[in-house]
Amino acid sequence: MEIFKIFGLEKSLLFFQIVNFLIVAFILKKFLYNPLMKMLDERKNKIDKGLKDAEDARISLENAAQERQKILSAAKADADALAASSKVSLEETKEKLTAEAKNRSQQIIDEAKQKADAEFESMNKRIGEMSVEIAGKVVSQTLAGLFTDDEKLKITARALDRIKKGGYEKSAN
C-alpha cells in the first residue's frame, strides 16, 4: 500500500523492532528488575529487623531504667529506716548512759556519805573514850593527895558514873 511506503513501514524493520524490544524487555527483567527487587526485599527485611531490634533494645533499656529506679528507691528506703533506727538507738543509749551515770554518782555519793557517817561515829566514840581516859587521869592525879583510897575510889566511881551518864559533851565543857 502507498501509505505504508510513505511511512517507511517494512516487514523486516517491524519484525526487527519487535524482536529487539522483546529481547531488551527480557534482559531488563532478568538483570535489572529481579536483582533490584530482591535487593529491595532484602533491605526491607533488614530494616524491619533493625527496627524490631531497636524496639527490643528500647524496651529492655526502659526495663533496666525501671529496675534501677526500683533498686534505688529500695536502697533509699533501707537507708532511711536504718538512719531512723540508729537515731532511736542513739537516743536510747544516751538516755541509758545518762541514767547509769546518775545512778553511779548517786551510789558513790551515798557510799561516801555512809563512810563519812561511820567515820564520824567512830571518831566520836574515840574522842569520848579519850576524854574519859584523860579526865580519869586528871582526876586521879588531882585527888591523889586529898582523899583516902577508899574515897578516891568512891569519887572516881561516881565521877565515872556521871560521865558515863551525862555523855561526853557535858563533861567536856
Partner: protein, 239 residues
Amino acid sequence: MQISPQVLFTIADFPVTNTVLVTLIVDIIIVLLIVAVNKMMSLRPGRLQNAAESVMNYFYSSTKDIAGDRVSFIYPWVLSFFIFILIANLIEFIPGFESIRFFPHNAAAAGEEHGVPLFRAAASDLNFTLALAVISVVMSHYYSIKYTGIKSYIGRFVSLKMFGLFLLVGMIELMSEFVKFISFSFRLFGNIFAGDIALGVTKYFFVMSAFEMFVGFIQAFVFAMLTMAFTTVLTEKSH
C-alpha cells in the same frame, strides 16, 4: 525531512536505517546501565542504584495501586516500555546528534548530495512505534486469555446479553482494540517526528529543546501508563 527513515546500507537484504542504528545504540546504553547498576548494587545504595530503585518503585507502586495483585507480570512491561522509549527519545538531544551525515553509495543518485543523517530519533520511525504498539496490545491480550480464561476473553467481544445489544458493544470493543495499534503508534511517532521538525525549523533554539525533552519524557510515560491501564482492564475478571 522525509517521513520514512533513511536507509544507510543493507545487510543480506535487511535495510539498516538510521533509526535501526539508534535503536541498537539505545540497546547498548540499556545494557551498560544494567551492568553499571549491577556492579554498584549493594544493600546501601549509591546514587545510580537509588535512582534506578526509585524509578522502579514508582512504577511498581503505581501499577499496584491500579492492577492490585496482577502487578507482578504487568509492571516489568510498563517499566521496560518507559525506559526504552525514554532513552530513545532523549538520545536525540545529545549535541550534534543529527548533524553527522552519512553518504550511502547511491546518495547522489537518490538526490541526497549532502548525505543522510547518520542518527535519527528512533521514535520518528513508524516501524519502531508500531512494533511497540503491537507488543503492548498483543501482550495485554495474551495476559487477558491467561488470567481470565478463553471463555471470558471471547465473551468480552461476543455476547448476547440484553437482547443482542451487547453484540454491538462487543463489536465496538473489538474495533477499539484495533484502533489501539494506530493510537499507540501514531501518538508516539507523531510527537517525536513533529518535535524533530520543530527543532530543525527553530534551529535548535534551546527553549524548544527543553520543551521537546519534556515531550519525549511525557510520551514515554504516556505509552507506559496506557499499556498498564489497558492490560489491567483486559485482565479484569468480572466484566
